[in-house]
Each structure stands twice: as structure tokens, then as C-alpha cells.
């Protein structure tokens, strides 16, 4: 009986990278599509996100969607 440490380590590494990666990307998308916080002392209220932020956000969401599609592929192909 020997524990397959390499496989376990690989699972841990991949899980950590994928989870942090997807959550990070998705958060970038959320930040890109939500209103900007009001600056301290500024009279203006929260402002809508700019075009650049929006483009980044859409790209981030698209990558997340691709990851979900790959997940479904893994389940179906198993």
C-alpha cells in the first residue's frame, strides 16, 4: 500500500490554480461591470464603468464560460 502523493499533489495544485483563476477572472468581470466607487470628497456619486473596463469584463466572463463548457465536456466524456 503506497499513497500516490504525486497524484494527490497534482490534484491539489490543479484545484487551487483553477479555483483561484476562475474566481479571480469572474471577480474581474464583476468589478468591470459594476459602478465605480465614489472618490472621497468628490461630489459625484458612483459612476458607470468605462468602455475599457467593460471590454475586459466581457472577456473575463467569456473565459469563465469556456471553463464551464470544459467542465461539462469532462463530465460527459467521462
Amino acid at each position: 500500500m503506497s499513497i500516490d502523493w504525486a497524484a494527490l499533489g497534482q490534484v491539489f495544485g490543479v484545484t487551487l490554480a483553477v479555483t483561484v483563476g476562475i474566481v479571480g477572472l469572474f471577480t474581474v468581470g464583476i468589478v468591470g461591470t459594476s459602478r465605480r466607487p465614489a472618490v472621497e470628497g468628490d461630489a459625484a456619486a458612483a459612476t458607470a464603468p468605462g468602455t475599457g473596463a467593460r471590454t475586459t469584463a466581457v472577456a473575463a466572463f467569456a473565459l469563465c464560460a469556456a471553463a464551464v463548457a470544459y467542465g461539462i465536456y469532462l463530465i460527459v466524456a467521462a
Partner: protein, 418 residues
């Protein structure tokens, strides 16, 4: 189907009952945090999970080759009586843990039941001790750490990135992401766990000579197994959902998203890199991790401790019940009948006990009763900052009851200003 003897018929029915308990026991894995953050209304969440479980059951054509994954020596004489006794043990333990509201692994209960029944009817030689350690012990111990650490890191990251943003603005996005992750977990559950029941039924049919060895399961087996798990999922193990979604820690939308994504990633990564981890432990671990990841988040360690205790007891307890059942079934036909009647009686008693304090979709998001402060909780409280914007159980329950998204958004806004 005239070749199906009464005994094999009983085994099939028992296997479907187990499948049903498996369904409502594991709803929490996919949907607990989705329900507690209000991403989906309770009934909608379990309905979605049920449909995905049903779809998952039909998706995979790979039949579970061995029902126990090599833990017991199936060639040593696994007779229908042994399978029956093992299933009874697994069902009884699933119901006991459900009554206590503790998420425990249905697969471990099935393994434990089969081990107990095999030891009594064949002897200890019929059990592979190595496989028990490799397939049950290590995956169960490793799972909460892998999923928990990933969820903790992801929770930290997402809170850092959205710092300064209005919670009401971000909550909707998090909820959408959470639904996607939960759907993946449900689908993976359907393909995995419905397969187990199909394997059990197919094995029973093979031993009865109804289908040829190595044959694919007949369509009615696939359909009935899929329907049983979907029905169980739809009825919802609300007690377990409450523990996972509310009892371990208070979950905010960002945490729910991080926990659910971590669970989905862990399940898929582990099953495809050849080191399968236990789903229940993965999901519980990721919830705990997300609780630790939020600044001021508090994990209720006494609830977590009870849960870990139940994990440890699952295999031996299901095994002990199954061993008793196997002893009775060895006595002949009256023994099988006695086990069936006793099993039904125990199930009825547990159901009756659950009616005293029913938990269903209407009160699933009510918080747990205030618990005495444990040693670990007290120690952690002294070193951690106070919770930032903790949502009361009442507010979140009202939140979950809101039907429309705009209404939920204003609710979230009131929660943050509180």
C-alpha cells in the same frame, strides 16, 4: 422478466430506496450555499438539481464495473442476500445522519454496509483492507483540505478585488456564477452516484441470470435509477441543507461563489486526474474554507466537529447495521423478511421523529439555534476581528423569499447599510 425471483426483486427495490436516500442526502452538496445566499429560491434550487441529476444519469454510458471499487472481493460470493443486507445498513445510516442534519458520504455508507455484510457472510478475507484505506480513508481526509484551502484562497482574492465596491452591485453577479458552479456539481453527482445504483441492480440481475455477465444495464434500470435519485434530490434533504448553508458558517454571495467553484473544480480535477476525492467532504470543506477566507467570518467548530465525527462513524456504523442484517438473512427466507420488516420499521420511526421538528423549504434558511461557545470558537473569536456586515438569518430568509432579481438587489442594499 419472469426470471426475477422475489429476492432479486427485493434487492432492486432496496437499491432504488438507497438511490433515493442518496439523492436527498446529497442535495446539500450542490445546493446548500446556493439556497442560503438566496441565489435561487429553495424549491427552484432543488428542482434544478433534480433535473441535472436525471440528465447526468443518462449521460454516462460507463457502467460502474464493480459496485465497491475493489473494496470487497466480489468473486468470493457476493450473493443477493449480502447486497441486500449492505443496502439496508447504508439506508439506515443515511436516514440517521439526515435526522441529525449531518452531511455524511452516501458512498461511504454503501461501502460500509457492503463491508459489514461481507465480513459476516464470507469472513474478513472477503474485504481488502488496503483498498479501504486507499479508496475511503485517504480521499476523505484529503478532500476537506484540498477544497478548503482553494476556497479560502479564492474567497480572500475575490474580497480583495472587490474592495470598495457596493455589495448590492456585485451580489447579483456572484449569484449567477454560483448557479453555474452548482449546476456542474449536480451534473457530476448524477453521473457518479446514479451509476452506483445501476451497478448494484445490474449485479443483482447478473447473479439471478436475468442479464448476461458484462452486459450493459437495461434501459429500465438506467431510467429507474435516474428517477429515484432525481426524486430524492427534489424532495430535498432540508435538514442537511440548513447545516451546510447556515450551520457551519454565515455565507455571503462572494463566499458562496468561491465555495461552490472550489467544490466543482475539486470534484472534476480529482476524478479526472486519478485521485477521486469524496464529494461530501469536498463540499463541506469548501464551505469551511470560505468561512475562514472572509475577514471576520466565523466557522462554528462544534457543528463542524459533529460533522467530522459523523464522517468517521459512517463506515463502521453502516457496517454494523449491515452485519446484523446479514446475520439475519443467513437464517433463511424468514430472516430476509425480518430484515425487510425491521428496516421499514426503522425508516418509519426516523420519519416520525423528523416530523416533530420538521425542516422544509419554508424554514431552511432560518439560522441554527444559538450554540454554546466551544473552546476553539472562543479562542478564534479573541484573535479575529468582528464580522463585517453580518447578515441576520431573518434578513437572508426574507431575501431568499424574494422572487424578482431587482427586489433581491434592493434587499442586499439594505443588508449592507444595516
Amino acid at each position: 422478466m419472469e426470471h426475477i425471483t422475489l429476492l432479486i426483486g427485493i434487492v432492486i427495490v432496496t437499491a432504488l430506496v438507497f438511490d433515493f436516500t442518496n439523492g436527498f442526502h446529497d442535495t446539500a452538496n450542490a445546493m446548500a450555499t446556493t439556497i442560503s445566499t438566496g441565489a435561487l429560491r429553495p424549491k427552484t434550487a432543488v428542482a434544478m438539481s433534480a433535473v441535472l441529476n436525471l440528465v447526468g444519469a443518462f449521460l454516462s454510458v460507463e457502467v460502474a464495473k464493480t459496485i465497491s471499487g475493489g473494496i470487497i472481493d466480489e468473486s468470493a460470493g457476493i450473493r443477493p442476500e449480502v447486497i441486500f443486507a449492505g443496502l439496508v445498513g447504508a439506508i439506515v445510516w443515511n436516514l440517521v445522519t439526515w435526522l441529525a442534519g449531518l452531511p455524511s458520504s452516501s458512498s461511504h455508507a454503501l461501502f460500509g454496509g457492503l463491508i459489514g455484510a461481507t465480513v459476516v457472510s464470507v469472513g474478513t478475507g472477503g474485504v481488502h483492507g488496503d483498498a479501504v484505506v486507499m479508496k475511503v480513508l485517504i480521499p476523505a481526509v484529503a478532500a476537506p483540505f484540498v477544497a478548503g484551502l482553494a476556497a479560502m484562497a479564492a474567497t480572500r482574492l475575490t474580497y480583495r478585488l472587490t474592495r470598495g465596491r457596493d455589495e448590492a452591485d456585485t451580489a447579483k453577479g456572484y449569484r449567477a456564477g454560483q448557479i453555474a458552479s452548482a449546476a456542474l456539481v449536480s451534473l457530476a453527482h448524477g453521473t457518479n452516484d446514479a451509476q452506483k445504483t445501476m451497478g448494484v441492480i445490474t449485479l443483482a440481475l447478473i447473479t439471478g441470470g436475468v442479464v448476461a455477465p458484462h452486459a450493459d444495464p437495461p434501459l429500465w434500470v438506467i431510467a429507474s435509477a435516474g428517477l429515484a435519485i432525481a426524486l430524492g434530490t427534489y424532495l430535498g434533504g432540508w435538514r442537511i441543507i440548513r447545516t451546510m448553508g447556515k450551520g457551519i458558517t454565515d455565507i455571503q454571495p462572494p463566499q458562496g461563489f468561491a465555495a461552490q467553484t472550489s467544490a466543482a473544480a475539486t470534484i472534476l480535477a480529482s476524478s479526472h486526474l486519478g485521485f477521486a476525492l469524496s464529494t461530501t467532504q469536498v463540499c463541506s470543506g469548501s464551505v469551511m474554507g470560505s468561512g475562514l477566507g472572509r475577514k471576520g467570518g466565523v466557522v462554528r467548530w462544534s457543528t463542524a466537529g459533529r460533522m467530522v465525527l459523523a464522517w468517521g462513524l459512517t463506515l463502521p456504523a453502516a457496517g454494523a447495521v449491515a452485519a446484523g442484517a446479514a446475520f439475519l438473512t443467513k437464517q433463511g427466507s424468514w430472516g430476509v423478511a425480518a430484515v425487510a420488516i425491521l428496516g421499514l420499521g426503522v425508516c418509519g420511526a426516523i420519519w416520525a421523529a423528523s416530523r416533530r421538528k420538521p425542516i422544509d423549504h419554508s424554514n431552511v434558511n432560518d439560522g441554527p439555534a444559538a450554540e454554546p461557545v466551544g473552546v476553539v470558537t472562543a479562542a478564534l473569536k479573541t484573535v479575529s476581528p468582528p464580522p463585517a456586515g453580518s447578515v441576520t438569518a431573518q434578513a437572508t430568509a426574507a431575501d431568499a423569499a424574494e422572487a424578482s432579481a431587482p427586489a433581491a438587489r434592493t434587499k442586499a442594499a439594505t443588508a449592507t447599510t444595516r
